[in-house]
């Protein structure tokens, strides 16, 4: 930690959050909000004189509320930066008649109440997302009595209790009587591996964390009675089995089964009722203290950042990697990488391994000092441009400029263009070519698909980043669906021109599905909002000209929703069966007459 603070190449911004990101790989402009600390970080020597005089006492979040701190404080003794800070919501204020005691106490005069939040803009080439985890809140598991019974602790509270720098200087005392417990129980899978409450996934570290805690206790108190209530003990990593066996050798009892109820006895100890699934009997265990082995949840910031960066999430809420085996630290968006629990629950060793991998992936991209841009960008055919400005309006990247008054045709800044193709889809005058996804190239796929037995086919337009990836995920998971679906890949659903859909109906398609990323998840900021507008408008148009609008469907399917992709395909097949050959013939006639 201290290495980060003093490294000449690292600029450390604490109390800071990313609030906006513009640009693309190699050239991101990141807007950061740095909240005011009210203490000069570079001047503060962490002498602590201010703390002595501060009259405000609040619960200390670093110690999980098991101790207290002042309104001016250092988060913990080894904090980096070591500088103190003022929680301005708790502080009484610097008006001398109210308080300002810390101002007087600080010899170096590094407290500054005039400090304000700062907006910082940084030019960035690559981004590593290492936003970590949020511990599961066990209050909803009412049967364990957390917060109702003082001697039921979370695993994090327990960590603080046995920590030499913690509220009890490392003595594992019972909160009710401050005495060392004679017996401690650990309940595993709190918030993990449950279909009903908490999460379905395994949080990966809680088994070994409990094994570790049992060893810490046994090493200091060999006679302490420890019982671990578990579903399975997952000691799968290098050296893990050894620790588990050592814990058993020390006499820690592992009982298979999660407690059904916990009740408090007169002496504030706890009676645990559990069905021991190894013996099939209901057992009661009286314990002085109970520790809940908390599972992990994605950090609270995950969704906000995911939307800002255009990333994808797993169904369990962690970030989705580009490929689970071959690109485990890459995001699907070029130039963004994952490290640590942001991508899924993991222990310290795995987090460190992944972090090193992520940094090498970033270096691999940056070392040349330049980057090749995909030529999948749009291009204007100037003579067709009518200066309407629609393309510039829909471009999520402001990459198109034109001058309506002076009749200067649109032009594309190819460095800024990311290639979604929304401009080409919205241009009414065929004045935009979307390279590698031209009208002709896409229509040729539709035509080839519908040459034979068009009535039996489901035409699917799928965006590269979500829906096409979701279809791939269905494949990887072997989710079976009707074999008559045919996908046409576009980079973004925003590329799917009204003409492409009409072409499919002209050629005898019974049903057409347009699918893209969920609103808010679009890889091209918000290009898919134009998809939505366009499809709704087109459905209205279809109805007007006598074509059943349901035959055109719009579905948002994410890269992680393989199951949903297969479900949607089955629904499309049901819909297809409802379209008769007469109806198709009638549609073709309607569309041909309109052309005349």
């Amino acid at each position: 930690m201290t290495d980060v603070g003093r490294h000449p190449n690292i600029k450390m911004l604490t109390m800071s959050e990313v609030v906006g990101i513009k640009g693309y790989v190699g050239n991101f402009k990141v807007e950061i909000l740095k909240r005011a600390r009210y203490v000069d970080e570079s001047e503060c020597t962490a002498c602590g004189d201010c703390v002595k005089v501060c009259p405000v006492v609040r619960s200390d979040e670093f110690n999980e509320g098991l101790s207290s701190r002042k309104a001016i404080y250092s988060p913990f003794p080894q904090a980096v930066p070591s500088s103190y800070l003022i929680n301005v919501n708790e502080c009484l204020g610097h008006n001398p008649s109210v308080c300002s005691k810390c101002l007087d106490a600080c010899d170096k005069k590094c407290i500054d109440f005039q400090m304000s939040d700062e907006k910082i803009v940084e030019e960035i080439g690559t981004i590593i997302v290492a936003t970590g985890l949020e511990p599961y809140d066990p209050k909803e598991l009412d049967e364990y009595g957390y917060t109702r019974y003082e001697n039921v602790l979370t695993s994090l509270e327990f960590e603080r209790l046995v920590n030499a720098g913690g509220p009890s200087q490392g003595e594992p005392i019972r909160p009710t009587d401050r005495k060392t417990p004679k017996s401690v129980g650990f309940i595993q899978c709190v918030g993990s591996r449950s279909a009903r409450r908490g999460s379905e996934y395994c949080s990966n570290t809680c088994c070994m964390n409990t094994v570790k805690s049992s060893l810490v206790l046994k090493e200091h108190y060999p006679d302490i009675d420890i019982k671990v209530f578990y579903v399975d003990i997952r000691a799968f990593g290098k050296g893990f089995e050894d620790l588990y066996m050592r814990s058993k050798r020390y006499g820690v009892q592992y009982l298979r089964g999660l407690p059904g109820t916990v009740e408090e006895l007169d002496d504030s100890s706890l009676r645990v009722a559990v069905e021991n699934t190894a013996t099939g009997k209901v057992e009661y265990h009286d314990l002085d203290m109970l520790v809940l082995a908390l599972g992990m949840k994605p950090a609270k910031s995950t969704q906000r950042l995911q939307e800002m960066l255009g990333l994808q999430l797993n169904p369990d809420g962690f970030y989705l990697e580009a490929h689970p085996k071959l690109q485990p630290v890459d995001a699907a968006t070029r130039g963004i990488f994952f490290a640590g629990c942001a991508e899924g629950p993991k222990d310290i060793k795995e987090s460190v391994t992944q972090a090193s991998a992520a940094s090498v992936r970033a270096i691999r991209l940056m070392h040349k000092g330049e980057i090749s841009a995909e030529p999948i960008t749009s291009e204007i055919i100037e003579e067709n441009c009518k200066f309407c400005g629609k393309c510039a309006e829909v471009c999520p990247y402001n990459a198109i400029s034109l001058n309506k008054e002076k009749k200067i045709p649109a032009s594309v800044n190819t460095a800024a263009c990311s290639g979604c193709g929304t401009c080409a889809a919205e241009c009414k005058f065929d004045a935009i070519i979307m390279n590698h996804f031209t009208d002709d190239q896409i229509n040729s796929q539709t035509d080839a698909m519908l040459v034979e037995e068009p009535e039996s086919k489901i035409v699917v337009f799928a965006c590269n980043w979500c829906s096409y990836a979701g279809a791939d995920y269905a494949g990887v998971s072997r989710f079976q669906y009707p074999p008559n679906a045919r996908l046409i890949r576009t980079m973004c659903s925003g590329r799917v021109d009204e003409k492409f859909i009409m072409r499919a109906f002209e050629k005898g398609a019974p049903v057409v599905l347009v699918s893209g990323c969920h609103i808010g998840d679009c890889h091209y900021i918000d290009a898919n909002k134009w998809t939505e507008k366009r499809i709704i408008k087109l459905q209205g148009k279809l109805e007007k000209i006598g074509i059943r609008p349901e035959r055109l469907q719009l579905e948002w399917i994410s890269a992680a929703e393989g199951m949903r992709f297969a479900d949607v395909m089955r629904q499309m097949e049901d819909l297809r069966k409802s379209v008769s050959s007469e109806e198709i013939a009638e549609t073709i006639e309607i569309l041909e007459n309109r052309k005349k």
């Binding site: 800071s16 950061i32 904090a79 990593g237 030529p375 070519i433 279809a471 072997r478 074999p483």
Partner: protein, 207 residues
């Protein structure tokens, strides 16, 4: 239609397409009749060569394709194998080895979107595979070369989060001479790790 990136020579010359149908071991060929797909592909317009290959992405597989390009004077190819999301970069590089523009490639997704999702319907899967190859061939005939632009890049990484993962990533980058901006929402770095007492498997302190 004529655009800047398309040279007149490209648009006038008749396309010469090679189609390579990958077995992917048994991943595709257990469900899809790859030999039949290749056979039928031969009859498609612009297709000069079509064959099935055990593993298209392997070294011998790629060599077979490169040889096919050179021997038949192909100017674009269709690889019918796995998802382009997996191996498009591989085959684009392969095209460059054969002196073709990397964007003269089209992939038909016969694995993730065909053989793996219609495992109990081999005939329907083979029909679908044929359609997917036909679609790819039609599209391939209309491709034109594209050229990557080189853009300047900022040699600077932002690490969002100052827990153990963020710290390790920042130090690795910084020690390699790259500038790092670390953004941490709390007043101190350290994250959840800093709250832990001892850590497994070494049983030493976390900080």
């Amino acid at each position: 239609m004529q655009v800047k990136s398309m040279t007149s020579a490209d648009s006038e010359k008749q396309a010469r397409i090679g189609v390579y149908v990958c077995h992917c071991g048994l991943n595709i060929s257990k469900t899809v009749d790859c030999a039949k797909v290749a056979e039928v592909s031969k009859e498609l317009e612009y297709v000069v060569e079509a064959k099935d290959i055990a593993y298209a992405c392997s070294e011998p597989g790629q060599k077979e394709i490169v040889d096919g390009i050179i021997d038949n004077d192909l100017d674009r190819i269709v690889v019918a194998s796995c998802s382009p999301r997996l191996h498009e970069p591989t085959f684009r590089q392969m095209l460059q080895k054969a002196d073709l523009n990397p964007y003269m490639l089209e992939m038909a997704n016969l694995r993730e979107q065909c053989s793996w999702v219609h495992m109990s319907e081999p005939e329907a899967a083979t029909r679908k595979a044929l359609d997917l190859v036909k679609m790819s061939v039609s599209r391939a005939a209309l491709l034109w070369p594209l050229f990557e632009e080189t853009l300047p890049l900022t040699k600077r990484t932002m690490v969002i989060g100052g827990g153990v993962a963020g710290i390790q990533a920042a130090l690795d980058l910084a020690d390699n001479g790259y500038e790092v901006v670390m953004v941490e929402k709390n007043p101190s770095i350290g994250g959840t790790m800093a709250k832990l007492d001892k850590t497994f498997p070494t049983m030493d302190c976390s900080i």
